[in-house]
Symmetry: C2
């Protein structure tokens, strides 16, 4: 994205996610990380522009105002894009090792999920997740993918606990390797566009048989198969989200 | 995949790619890496079984026969699956840094590509690729994904050079962020299943305008858009291959 930081003509616009309200003339303080990124990594000078979004007020252009060496304000100047409501799809996934899990947070953010929910299944080996790390991966991916919001990242929860409070109006597309699952293109073409969705992928080694049976019996769950080859956890997440965006999300014209 | 190597009941079958012919009673020598993987990583004992494939003779069960501490033969015993011809799709992609490039080799193998071709474009920063590393990623992904063959991995070539010898019967689906590209679900639904395909993704920063214009003018190229958010290089590769497998490949029943 940022091939040539020294060349002001061709360099890409920096986008930063902030927690603050965004309005004309507001002064938003950069976090220490943002300050260091702007000054040292991207070599932005005083008075140069940066884009800001907060998930509520769309995207804005702001002017960089360094205050000494350790502080930086971003003065909000121009409204670029209104906030829009993205397609409503959550990701439920069994935690895996750090590298594929960070891929999952990043790729699912690029692919438009609204919520990232680590779910502990019977065969889940990795029961602790670095939630702060997942969140920072999601923020970075949102900044780079031109999203206007950042997905919520939940703490891990056992699958039974998660299903206790489940709103049955939110349909789940369950990636099941075994059992009576239908091929995903066929399954999706029979689903009617709904308001709220989730996709769910299992751990390395798959769901247990009893778990899969229990999930598949729920009226809001559609089990699907992702092709004839076994996919690693992160590839499976990308695959089901791409299919969802194609059939039910915002990838069509 | 291999959660509990010590438990012989539930452990997954090991699959190894070999170069040798596979026939009843053939003795196939394990490479030093394969030997070390069988004995030390997976703790397979003398007389236990391993699955072998070579891309030509289907999948076979073979019996492990250690010869001292440093050698191991695999005695071919039982034919498991005949060789099948997978859908014919190649991947053309601009090389990126090592981590996303290894993701690309792995995920595209899981997603069924027959050939992995690094292509140098105008904005390609990374011009050297570790072809041996890409190949070993592809072999490992083929072993774990239950494929019966391993994709060919080419040395990188400039895009113009690659197009000089291009067989126009092999259609290219070009992932273009800019220009007149059609949304991929709409583009694919209008393409007729053909015999031979390739998908092509650009570098971080995208294709140059002139490059994109030149490619889009070729009669065998269909430019597509992958949704409204910017995808990183590895996510884009996974996305276009998932779309292809859904519409034209082997993911439907």
């Amino acid at each position: 994205m940022h091939r040539n930081p020294a060349n002001t003509d061709h360099r890409a616009r920096i986008r930063l996610f902030v927690e603050y309200d965004l309005e004309h003339h507001h002064a938003v303080p950069a976090t220490p990380n943002q300050h260091s990124y702007l000054r040292k990594v991207m070599r932005r000078r005083d008075g140069e522009m940066v884009a800001l979004f907060n998930g509520r007020h769309g995207e804005w252009l702001a002017r960089i105002a360094y205050e000494g060496k350790s502080r930086c304000m971003m003065i909000v100047e121009q409204h670029l894009r209104p906030q829009r409501v993205p397609p409503d799809v959550w990701l439920l996934f069994a935690p895996v090792k750090a590298t594929p899990m960070n891929n999952i947070a990043r790729m699912s953010t690029e692919l438009g999920v609204g919520r990232i929910c680590p779910v502990l299944t019977e065969h889940t080996d990795v029961t602790r997740t670095n939630t702060a790390r997942l969140r920072s991966n999601a923020v970075e991916a949102a900044e780079q993918s031109t999203r206007l919001n950042v997905p919520i990242v939940d703490e891990p929860a056992p699958v039974a606990e998660m299903l206790e409070d489940w709103d049955p109006a939110r349909r789940i597309i369950l990636c099941a390797e075994a059992g009576q699952a239908v091929a995903i293109p066929d399954a999706l073409s029979e689903l009617e566009p709904g308001v709220a969705w989730a996709v769910m992928t299992g751990p390395e080694g798959g769901f247990s048989h009893s778990e899969l049976d229990g999930l598949a019996k729920l009226p809001f769950v559609t089990p699907v198969r992702l092709g004839p080859r076994i996919l690693r956890a992160d590839t499976a997440v990308a695959a089901v989200l791409v299919c969802w965006q194609n059939h039910l999300g915002d990838w069509s014209d």
